[in-house]
C-alpha cells in the first residue's frame, strides 16, 4: 500500500508506516545484542523522519542481511530494504559510523573489485581491503589477520591466484557508471519529462 506519510521517497513501497513496533525484528536479529540502535528503533527513527540518527547508527552496518526480520515481520515490512536505503544514505552523506568503517570499506573494495574485473578476485579484494582498512585505522592486526590462511588455501588449491576476469569488462564499467546515484536520478528525471 502506498504510504501517505512516508518521510522520504527512498522508503517507497517498503511499508515503513505499517510498522507497529512489535519488536519481532529485534527479537530474531542475530546481531541485535551488538547493536547500538536495535532494528525496531531504526524503523521508528525512520518513521519519525530522524534519518540522520538512523543512518549514523552502527547497527545498519552490523546488519548481516540475513532477512530474518523481513521473513517474520507480522506487517510484512521490507525491513532489509529500509536498512539498505539507510546504508545508501549514510554513504551519500558521509554518515557511516566510525566503528563500522571496516564493513563499509570491505563492501566498497568488493564493488571496486567487480567494477574492475567483472568478477571477484579474492586475493586482490583482500589486499585492497586490508590496505584501505590499514589506511583508515592503522590497524596492524588487520594487516596480519589470516596471514596464515593463505598458505593453507594455497595448499588446498582453494585459490585462483590470478583471479578471473570477464571478457567484456567495458560493459561492467558502463553498468557501474549508469548506476551511480546521480546517473540514476537524472535518468529518472529524463524519463519522467518524456512521459
Amino acid at each position: 500500500m502506498a504510504s501517505q506519510h512516508a518521510t522520504d521517497d527512498r522508503f517507497a513501497g517498503m511499508s515503513l508506516d505499517e510498522c507497529y513496533q512489535c519488536g519481532k525484528c529485534t527479537a530474531g536479529c542475530p546481531m541485535a545484542a551488538a547493536m547500538d540502535v536495535v532494528p525496531n528503533q531504526i524503523f521508528r527513527l525512520a518513521q519519525l523522519g530522524k534519518l540522520e540518527r538512523a543512518a549514523r547508527s552502527q547497527a545498519i552496518w552490523l546488519c548481516v542481511s540475513c532477512f530474518t526480520c523481513t521473513a517474520r515481520c507480522p506487517k510484512s515490512v521490507d525491513c532489509v530494504g529500509i536498512i539498505d536505503a539507510l546504508r545508501e544514505m549514510s554513504l551519500e552523506k558521509g554518515w557511516v559510523a566510525p566503528e563500522l568503517q571496516r564493513v563499509r570499506l570491505f563492501q566498497q573494495a568488493f564493488l571496486d573489485n567487480i567494477r574492475k574485473n567483472g568478477r571477484i578476485n579474492e586475493v586482490e579484494l583482500i589486499q585492497r581491503f586490508k590496505l584501505s582498512g590499514f589506511l583508515n585505522d592503522f590497524s596492524v592486526p588487520l594487516l596480519m589477520k589470516d596471514a596464515m590462511l593463505a598458505p593453507k588455501l594455497m595448499q588446498r588449491g582453494k585459490f585462483h591466484v590470478f583471479g578471473e576476469k570477464v571478457k567484456d569488462r567495458d560493459i561492467v564499467r558502463r553498468i557501474f557508471d549508469r548506476c551511480q546515484p546521480q546517473a540514476v536520478a537524472s535518468g529518472a528525471t529524463e524519463k519522467e519529462a518524456v512521459s
Binding site: 507497529y20 513496533q21 512489535c22 519488536g23 519481532k24 525484528c25 529485534t26 527479537a27 530474531g28 536479529c29 541485535a32 545484542a33 540502535v37 536495535v38 525496531n40 528503533q41 530474518t68 517474520r72 515481520c73 507480522p74 506487517k75 510484512s76
Partner: protein, 666 residues
C-alpha cells in the same frame, strides 16, 4: 389532480449555510403538481411536523416532499406526521439536501441549484406514488437458539422466563460451551463452573426450554415469524429418556485412553462418556471412533452393565422439525492453532514457534484445564511432557491476532485479560515460580480491568516485556524463547519450562455454513455481521435472525451475556406483538405478463420468489408464474433487473417512479 406540498428544512445552519432555502422554496412552489412550498428552521421539530400536518389538511395535499436530511434519519418521523393528518404515509418522500448536498459542497449557488434538482426529482417520484399498506405476517411465538454456551444459555433463559418456548440446539453432548471449561474468571477470579452450572441446570429443568444436545441445525426454511427448522439429532447410542446417568457404563468401558475434548486434549476419557460431571444433560454418549464394539464388534460392556437398558448400538441420526418465529445464533468461537495445516488458505501457522510440535507449548484454553481443580491434573500446574512443575513460564500475547502475515488482522480482545489472570493463577499455585509475559499493548478497557492487570504485575510479580517473540526452540528440556523488550531496546531470551500462547479467537467451525443457511452475512474471518455496528448490534440483515456472543466478534463473558440478553430482548419485542408488520416496499410480480422463466427465482438472494400456478375456478391450470413471498422479500430489486418481460417491480420504487425522477432531472 396532484396536490403536492414541499417542505424545505434549514437544519439550523447545516443546510441553510450552503443552500439558499428561500430560493429553493420559491422554485419548488413553481414545479408542476406542487400546491404549496414552505421552509422552516427544523422540519423534524414539533412545530415543523405541525406545519406539515396543518398543510396536509388545509391544502388537501395528496403527496408530501420533505427536503431535509437522509431518509435514514427522519423518514419515519415525517410519515408518522402525515399519517396523523390522514395521509397515507407512503405518499411522503424525502429529498436529501443535507448529506447529498449542503454537507458536500462549498459553492452556494451550485448547491442551491442542486437542491432544487433533487426536489424536482423527488416531486416527480411522488407524482407516481400510490398508497401502500404495511404487510401483515403471522407469527410463531417460539424461538430457536443455536449454541448452548454462556450466550445461548442466557438468551434461552431470558426468552423462556418471559413465557415463550425456546428450542435450544447444542452440537456437543452437553451445554456449557467454553465457559464450562474455564478455571476462574477475570476480573474477580470467581470460579467459572460455580457461576455457570446453576444456569445450565436451570436450562435443563426449564419447562419452556426444549434442549436438543448433540444435535445440529440441518436446514432452515421459511421467513421471519415462520421458520421451519430441521434439526439433526446425532446418533448418541444412548437413550437419554431411559438412562439414569448412574455412571455404570463409563466406569466399565475398557477404552480409556481417548483424548478428552472437554480437557482440550490434556486429559483422557472413556469411549462412552459424559464430557464433565456437571454436564446437562447428564447423559453419556458413545464415541463411535473409539468404541470397541464399533471397532471390533467384540465389546458390549456398557450394554451388559446398564440396568436401564439405555444402550442402543443400532441408534441412528434422526431429523426432527421445529417451527419457530425467531432465531438467535450463539455459536461462539474456537482458538486458532499454530500448526502448519490450517483450515483456511488465508491463514498460516507459526513455523517459528515449531508449528505446535513442542508438547510444553500450549494454548490458553489448555492452560485453563491445567489450572482447573476439575482438570486433568487436579488443579496442580504440571507440564504436559513430563508432569514437572514449571518454574519459569512464558505467556505470549497476540499469537495470530494482529498478525497480518499469518492472516488475521483483528485484536482478539480477551487475551490481555486472561493472560494477566493466568499469571496470577500460576503464582497462586507455584509460589517460587516466575511468570513472564510478552505483549504488544495491554488492552484492559472495562470495569476493574486495568486494576486487575496492574495487580498481576505489582502484587503477583509477573514480568511483562513489551515485544513479540521471534522464535521458540527446544534445547535440553528447556524452551528457549527469543523475544525482545522494545522499551529498553534489547533482545530478551527466557529459558522456559512451559509456554502458553494466547492464540487468536476464530468463529467456531461451521459458522459460515450456518450463516449461509440463515442468510446472515459474515466478514472475511467468518465472524457474523450485525446489521448496524452501533444502532442494530444484535440484528442481522436477515429479518428475525439475531446474533450474540463470540460468533459475532471476539468478546469476553460479560459482553457475550449482555449481548445475549439484548438479542433475547429483541425477540421478546417481536413476540410481544400479535402479528408482524413489514414495510410494503418489496417486489411484486405482474402475474399476467410473467413468462415463468424463473430467472428471478434463481437470482433472488433471499429465496423469496416461488414458482406458482394460476388456476381457474375449476382448477384447470391457466399458466405458471413467479410469486413473491412477502415475508421473505427484502426489496433489493435484483428480480427487477433480471426480469426479461419487465413483470417484476418494487413497490415504492417502481420503474415508473424512477423514470419520472430521471425525466425531471434531465
Amino acid at each position: 389532480m396532484a396536490r403536492i406540498g414541499v417542505f424545505v428544512c434549514w437544519c439550523g445552519e447545516n443546510i441553510a449555510r450552503t443552500v439558499d432555502v428561500e430560493k429553493v422554496t420559491a422554485a419548488a412552489a413553481e414545479m408542476p403538481g406542487v400546491r404549496c412550498a414552505i421552509n422552516y428552521k427544523y422540519m423534524c421539530s414539533d412545530p415543523g411536523q405541525a406545519s406539515i400536518r396543518e398543510k396536509i389538511q388545509s391544502e388537501k395535499l395528496r403527496g408530501v416532499v420533505v427536503a431535509s436530511c437522509s431518509p435514514h434519519m427522519h423518514l419515519k418521523t415525517f410519515r408518522a406526521a402525515a399519517q396523523a393528518a390522514g395521509l397515507n404515509p407512503y405518499l411522503v418522500e424525502m429529498a436529501n439536501i443535507r448529506e447529498h448536498c449542503s454537507w458536500v459542497h462549498h459553492n452556494k449557488d451550485e448547491a442551491t441549484e442542486k437542491a432544487i434538482q433533487l426536489i424536482r426529482m423527488t416531486v416527480g417520484k411522488v407524482l407516481r406514488n400510490h398508497a401502500l399498506n404495511p404487510i401483515k405476517v403471522p407469527l410463531t411465538k417460539r424461538a430457536l437458539v443455536i449454541g448452548g454456551g454462556v450466550a445461548g444459555i442466557q438468551a434461552s433463559l431470558d426468552i423462556a422466563d418471559a413465557g415463550y418456548e425456546v428450542v435450544l440446539v447444542e452440537r456437543e453432548p452437553s451445554i456449557g460451551g467454553k465457559m464450562a471449561g474455564l478455571s476462574e474468571t477475570f476480573p474477580t477470579l470467581d470460579c467459572s463452573q460455580c457461576i455457570l452450572t446453576p444456569r445450565m441446570v436451570e436450562v435443563g429443568q426449564h419447562p419452556n426450554i426444549r434442549l436438543y444436545s448433540y444435535s445440529e441445525v440441518e436446514a432452515v426454511d421459511g421467513y421471519v415469524g415462520n421458520f421451519e427448522v430441521t434439526i439433526r439429532k446425532k446418533a448418541r447410542y444412548v437413550d437419554i429418556d431411559k438412562c439414569t446417568g448412574c455412571g455404570d457404563c463409563w466406569t466399565k468401558c475398557p477404552s480409556k485412553k481417548n483424548l478428552s475434548e472437554f480437557d482440550q486434549g490434556m486429559g483422557t476419557r472413556t469411549a462412552i462418556y459424559v464430557p464433565f460431571p456437571q454436564a446437562v444433560p447428564a447423559r453419556p454418549v458413545i464415541d463411535k471412533e473409539a468404541c470397541l464394539h464399533f471397532k471390533t464388534g467384540k465389546c458390549g460392556a456398557c450394554q451388559k452393565r446398564c440396568q436401564a437398558g439405555a444402550i442402543n448400538f443400532e441408534d441412528e441420526d434422526q431429523l426432527v422439525k421445529e417451527n419457530v418465529g425467531a432465531v438467535i445464533i450463539a455459536t461462539g468461537y474456537k482458538l486458532y492453532k499454530i500448526t502448519d495445516a490450517q483450515n483456511n488458505a488465508k491463514y498460516t501457522g507459526y513455523g517459528e514457534y515449531g508449528y505446535g510440535q513442542y508438547p510444553d507449548v500450549i494454548d490458553g484454553l489448555q492452560f485453563e484445564r491445567i489450572v482447573s481443580a476439575s482438570g486433568p491434573t487436579g488443579g496442580e500446574i504440571k507440564r504436559p511432557s513430563d508432569g514437572a512443575e514449571p518454574k519459569n513460564i512464558v505467556f505470549i500475547a497476540c499469537v495470530g491476532s494482529r498478525d497480518n502475515a499469518k492472516g488475521m488482522t483483528f485484536c482478539s480482545k480477551i487475551c490481555c485479560m486472561y493472560t494477566a489472570k493466568h499469571t496470577m493463577l500460576y503464582k497462586h499455585k507455584v509460589h517460587d515460580g516466575q511468570a513472564h509475559v510478552f505483549y504488544m499493548d495491554i488492552r484492559a478497557g472495562g470495569k476493574n480491568y486495568d486494576e486487575f492487570v496492574r495487580r498481576a504485575i505489582e502484587k503477583d510479580g509477573a514480568k511483562y516485556y513489551r515485544g513479540r517473540v521471534s522464535k521458540i526452540t527446544q534445547e535440553n528440556g528447556k524452551l528457549i524463547v527469543r523475544g525482545t523488550d522494545t522499551l529498553v531496546g534489547e533482545p530478551i531470551t527466557v529459558e522456559a519450562d512451559m509456554v502458553v500462547l494466547a492464540t487468536a479467537m476464530q468463529p467456531a467451525d461451521g459458522a459460515r455454513e450456518l450463516a449461509q443457511k440463515l442468510k446472515v452475512g459474515y466478514d472475511e474471518f467468518g465472524f457474523l455481521s450485525e446489521s448496524h455496528p452501533k444502532l442494530r448490534p444484535v440484528e442481522t440483515t436477515s429479518a428475525g435472525v439475531y446474533i450474540c456472543g463470540a460468533c459475532h466478534a471476539p468478546k469476553d463473558i460479560p459482553e457475550a451475556v449482555a449481548q445475549a440478553s439484548a438479542a433475547a430482548g429483541k425477540v421478546q419485542v417481536m413476540f410481544g406483538k400479535g402479528e408482524l408488520t413489514r414495510e410494503p416496499e418489496i417486489a411484486v410480480i405482474n402475474e399476467q405478463t410473467c413468462a415463468a422463466c424463473y430467472a428471478c427465482v434463481r437470482t433472488c438472494p433471499y429465496g423469496a420468489i416461488e414458482k406458482a400456478e394460476i388456476r381457474d375456478r375449476k382448477g384447470n391450470l391457466v399458466k405458471y408464474t413467479a410469486r413473491v413471498n412477502q415475508g421473505l422479500c427484502m426489496g433489493c430489486g435484483t428480480c427487477v433487473a433480471v426480469c426479461p418481460s419487465k413483470s417484476a417491480d418494487i413497490e415504492g420504487f417502481s420503474e415508473q417512479q424512477i423514470y419520472e425522477m430521471v425525466k425531471n432531472l434531465v
